[in-house]
């Protein structure tokens, strides 16, 4: 059995990244919506270390961690390449994927915190954006991948779209469009591009999903 199955959650930026990669490459797959309050036995078996989604199962073998999955898809299905062929350009792309992965933790922390505790993650998130604005690859081009979407766009797409939802839900400001013209243009390009546009969770629904999630986290941390 060489079928592809993705275990994910519709509201998750991490499983959405994998969906984008699958759709861009035209890879058929089955999708399993996981209930994080009641994780399936399969999920726990496939990802015993983290017990998290997304998990991609190919031919019965699980791959975990969204960007590890994207690299796997890149190697197993070479069509619509998500990485350049030149080793140095690949290294540049991977550098930025790592940068985004490491620094975007602040965005999620900002989503889980309030008041004084939220200030530093918000500042650090803004700093991440400023660095991407200035130094991100393929400046002047439509995407971080140049003329077409690549692995860096996928990595950042999972952050940028959700960042605005988090801003709405938590009342903080991380993305200042006036200060980030390049990223602003990038977001318009990315979110309107055919495959991505058809695979973006609805903003309103995401907001409705995260409001109670955030409330629950904040109330459990204050009741310590």
């Amino acid at each position: 059995m060489d079928g592809v199955k993705l275990h994910g959650v519709w509201a998750s930026p991490f499983s959405t990244r994998v969906i984008w990669a699958l759709k861009l490459k035209g890879i058929p797959f089955d999708y399993v919506e996981e209930d994080l309050s009641n994780k399936s036995a399969s999920l726990l078996r496939y990802n015993p270390v983290h017990k998290k989604i997304p998990v991609l199962v190919h031919g019965g073998r699980p791959v975990c961690e969204s960007m590890v999955i994207v690299e796997y898809l890149e190697e197993a299905w070479p069509q619509f390449p998500l990485l350049p062929s030149d080793p140095h350009e690949r290294a540049v792309a991977r550098f930025w994927v790592k940068f985004i992965e490491d620094k975007s933790l602040n965005v999620w922390i900002a989503g889980r915190s309030a008041g004084e505790e939220q200030e530093k993650p918000m500042r650090d998130s803004s700093e991440m954006l400023a660095i991407l604005e200035e130094h991100g690859p393929n400046k002047g081009k439509k995407f971080f991948g140049g003329d077409s979407i690549n692995i860096v766009d996928i990595a950042f797409g999972g952050v940028a779209y959700w960042m605005r939802v988090i801003e709405e839900v938590s009342g903080g400001k991380m993305f200042d469009a006036a200060k980030l013209p390049r990223l602003n243009a990038w977001m318009a390009n990315f979110e309107s591009s055919p495959v991505i546009a058809k695979n973006l969770p609805d903003r309103g629904k995401l907001r409705d999903y995260f409001v109670p999630v955030r409330a629950k986290i904040l109330s459990s941390s204050t009741s310590k």
Partner: protein, 288 residues
């Protein structure tokens, strides 16, 4: 002792030029560090095999395919790159950076993080150790350090990501005291348990099988740096009885020819991490 240091510095230098660069570095550092540098000055000052004039001519023609590594002792991020280059038999020039006085080259080559290691190949820089490792693997296909099969590669990458994310726990173990340290100890032991139970197979010498690979290089600090931290803190984390597979992997890693020939000296590391721990502890208590 002084005589030994002098002898080491004379014999391990490549050509005169490498020595000059090294002396400039030493002059910038305090006395204590100089001793460590001398003790650890390795035969890693490989040159391109070109004379100085030829080197300059080729640089101006843009043909320079030389490899240079900017690193520091005893950074595990630096060492993993050194080992990868050596495993591939790649000749490279090593530059020891003074992190208190970073070179223009480092700042130019890694403007985002301003950190080592940075690999410069044919004049083009690559930053972030795990990114550098993948670059080395792709640029020099001899002696593969990643499995060929995409699935097995994804497993290696998963674990590389895992240990990179968990590294701060072990540095917290070194930097903290009291309740914070107890917490760090608990978390660190959970990490070791996860590796023991899920990352290592009974029958394998290294993570991916019989041959050393990128995953071993990234996990490598568990085999040489962790022991120095444990001694400085006075708490043993990696007990052989609790983590027999991991313990065996540590022995295998340390025994590997390439690793063994280039391991930071234990006593030098003890002094280094002791100083770091003291600095952290005194700055946190004075902040109260």
């Amino acid at each position: 002792m002084i005589g030994e240091i002098e002898t080491l510095s004379k014999s391990s230098g490549g050509d005169g030029r490498a020595e000059e660069g090294g002396d400039e570095q030493f002059a910038r550092q305090d006395g204590a560090l100089k001793t460590f540098k001398e003790l650890n000055k390795k035969p890693t000052h490989h040159r391109f095999g070109l004379g100085r004039t030829e080197g300059i001519v080729l640089i101006s023609w843009g043909f320079m395919e030389g490899v240079k590594l900017l690193g520091t002792w005893p950074s595990p991020f630096s060492y993993r790159v050194i080992w990868a280059l050596k495993l591939k038999g790649v000749k490279f020039e090593y530059v020891e950076e003074d992190l208190g006085n970073k070179s223009d080259e480092l700042l130019r080559c890694n403007p985002v993080h301003k950190k080592i290691p940075v690999l410069i190949h044919g004049g083009r820089p690559v930053a972030e150790s795990t990114v550098i490792l993948e670059y080395i693997e792709e640029s020099w296909p001899q002696n593969p350090l990643l499995p060929q099969d995409p699935y097995d590669k994804s497993v290696a990458r998963f674990w590389i990501r895992f240990i990179e994310d968990k590294t701060p726990v072990f540095f917290r173990f070194c930097h903290s005291t009291g309740e914070q340290q107890e917490e760090a100890i608990r978390e660190a032991k959970k990490v070791l348990k996860t590796i023991e139970e899920h990352a290592l197979r009974e029958e394998d010498k290294f993570f991916a099988g019989d041959k050393i690979g990128l995953q071993d290089l990234v996990f490598g600090w568990l085999a040489w740096l962790l022991q120095a931290l444990e001694e400085v803190v006075g708490v043993k984390l990696l007990e052989a009885s609790e983590y027999p597979r991991l313990h065996r992997w540590v022995q295998n890693f340390r025994a590997h020819d390439v690793i063994r020939s280039d391991l930071p000296e234990h006593n030098a590391m003890l002094a280094y991490f002791k100083r770091i721990r003291e600095t952290f502890i005194s700055s946190s208590t004075s902040a109260v």
